[in-house]
Symmetry: C2
Subunit: 426 residues, 2 copies
């Protein structure tokens, strides 16, 4: 038994090494591909998806049937489901990525040094990107498109529940690549549901430059801990709105409501509302009534409880990303106390101040240590499309490399270029 | 015995946690510090170093005496040694860093979206940086200065052989911080030579944002493997010069010589020379003679051996960073073969082409996957000061976050700022 498992593991290791080598070769070839070729491949993928729509829907139906038998939750089943409309959305996503400017080859900061050397920084692909994701099959297309557009080879590892859908989509991708004259190994799907493949992928330092996990917090934590390759993490969003004593309270009323109620399940949803004590008495009773009317359960600190009837908030509430119709509210002494609360309890994702005081907004922007800091706007705007990135692969909660919504730029790196004329160093 | 070791380890863990907490608090305070305060602190450190010069030299003399007793190598003893000139260099380094523009607070790419939201990216400190380094005591000052200038708190762990020197320098740094009204915990030296402290530092995810090891390859590899915090790595430089068939051979003659012989021990030194077969017969015999005259031992591939008398190069030679008077030479079919050799055997540090052919230079720049790619300049220019960065903390061989010479910018991150006027998402 043990030897059989070992043999299987070693088979998987061999297959993953092969995938890695193929990806590395494809990545080399992509470095000399043209913008036009990469855009043509994206357009050809869109055409293939359209042509093979039925085959993809049938594969998805098989996944759905198996999911039903295995008793997947309704939420998971909904994420797994493909419909003609969802395939249309994937196709238009490909067109959007094709229409974005090529991020590769641009040169910034080219300056001439005193000795005449011209030195600048050229944007270049990262190389090979490993993407590990859960049930949504559309990620297969989105991730492939973004990686390819930025000149990277991709190794995709989707969830086992979407296995047949992903394989059908991957065939469209491969044939799109071939039609544009690009190596089909530029995008490879890991065609096994064995979990050992994930372990092999996240430790394949020789072949993979970066791992991007997409999915729940537990998946991302586990991968970050076990990977020896750098990981771009997309962890939780415990977002705050702070209503300053100099806020327009009408504006704050709408911003706070929108930040919570636009959609409960997004990482940019507000989870804690902080209110300056100078305006709490005026602001909070109608605000809390509005939340309650919308079906939001509110808990609050002592000072909130003294103003209106709410559940008592516990220490745990300040640390909880509810992702649902729940909200914690705290009255704070002033803006400094608000910043302290946010930097201490927050997840460094997205936090906002509502204020008309110039100095307060500037300090809040400078001192809140989050990937997005907002003034007079709700946290639910934290999103690549809203930021004008065209498309995003996630929202990074890391500080290094890329922070906040990750578009094409986050999938690239910059190298120095040095242009001389026979200079020597003396 | 075991329980004593365990108690010591747990003492160290407790002390490192305290250091981490103090650093985190100092980092918060630094976020609201002004450019002027940070520059004043740097100037005050310089004055302290000047005033306490004798005390620092005495501490260094004690380190040197112990090093002698312990039989440190001559190279290590030289790196450990402080002289009045080397202290002057540290002082002028502080002045240089003070005079650089503040990297913090600048806003790039601020654009107005269709809905009127203004979105940009603000440069901000990383937070807490852990620096682990070997014998040179000047790193204590350099690292402290760069971290502080970029608004970060630093935890410094120097080599045990420089312990007394580092403590004396750290006292100057602390008193400089205090004189400028900044928290003295903004720069903390780990005041123990116990190696367990390194293990605690590189896994203190709650308190430390990034680890920068400075030293030999083995130190950096070990730290990268054991750290759970992101590491900015500075690994080896296996640098190449490729002499294209369209090169000015006179220029190539001087560039290749300079790349090898400017200084053998720097990471930008050329280790392998690649020559297009079309010019090998003309170029190589005099070039090799010049290297031999300079005392460089040359090995070469079959085609080089057919031209002149050299040692045969082995597969291992193409993979070796000599850091000494040795050079491997290979004749390649054309530019593509050169790029393939570099991307396969190189360390992705710095590589150069000598060529007057526009298309060849452009392809070389685009396709060589190295942190610096040069045209008509020797690889020994790879250096932060030469690149106009003012000062550098090392040369990153990573692709993520920062690549190539790391100056102040590499010690910062960017957050999105979103400026609204009561916008809500619909």
């Amino acid at each position: 038994m043990t030897s059989e498992v070992q043999r299987e593991d070693s088979d998987i290791a061999t297959r993953m090494t092969l995938l890695g080598q193929q990806a590395r070769r494809a990545s080399s070839l992509l470095r000399s591909s043209t913008t036009q070729q990469r855009n043509e491949a994206l357009a050809a993928m869109a055409r293939e998806l359209s042509t093979q729509r039925e085959a993809v829907l049938e594969a998805n139906a098989r996944d759905m049937a198996r999911g039903k038998t295995e008793g997947l939750s309704e939420a998971l089943m909904d994420r797994l489901l493909l419909t003609p409309e969802r395939i249309d959305a994937m196709i238009s996503g490909l067109d959007t990525v094709a229409s974005l400017p090529d991020p590769i080859g641009g040169i910034d900061d080219l300056r001439t040094q005193a000795n005449g050397l011209r030195i600048g920084r050229m944007r270049t692909p990262l190389g090979v990107i490993g993407i590990i994701y859960e049930s949504r099959p559309n990620v297969t297309v989105d991730a492939a498109a973004l990686c390819l557009k930025a000149g990277n080879a991709a190794i995709l590892r989707g969830g086992s529940e979407a296995f047949e859908s992903n394989c059908a989509i991957a065939r469209c991708i491969a044939s799109g690549l071939e039609r544009a004259g690009l190596p089909s190994h530029a995008v490879q799907l890991v065609e096994t549901t064995d979990r050992a493949a994930v372990g092999a992928l996240i430790t394949a330092n020789e072949y993979v430059d970066v791992i991007i996990p997409r999915g729940g917090k537990s998946l991302i934590k586990r991968i970050s801990e076990e990977a020896s390759i750098p990981v771009i993490k997309h962890l939780e969003g415990l977002c705050h709105i702070f209503v300053d004593r100099h806020a327009s309270l009408d504006m704050a009323f709408d911003i706070a409501f929108n930040a919570k109620c636009f959609r409960y399940g997004i990482c940019g949803a507000m989870e804690t509302l902080l209110v300056d004590q100078a305006v709490a008495e005026t602001f909070l009773p109608p605000m809390i009534a509005r939340f309650k009317d919308a079906g939001v359960t509110v808990c609050g600190c002592d000072r909130v409880q003294a103003l209106t009837e709410v559940e008592p908030a516990t220490e745990e509430d300040w640390q909880t990303e509810y992702l649902g119709p729940y909200l914690s509210i705290r009255v704070v002494d002033d803006m400094h106390a608000a910043i302290e609360h946010i930097n201490h309890y927050g997840s460094h994702h997205t936090d906002a101040i509502v204020s008309d005081h110039f100095g307060h907004t500037q300090r809040f922007l400078a001192e809140v240590d989050s990937s997005s800091v907002m003034v007079n706007a709700p946290t639910c705007f934290a999103d690549g499309a809203q930021y004008g990135l065209g498309a995003e692969i996630g929202i990074s909660t890391d500080k290094l490399h890329v922070r906040g919504p990750v578009g094409l730029e986050g999938l690239t790196t910059r190298k120095y270029i040095v242009l001389g004329d026979g200079h020597v160093r003396t």
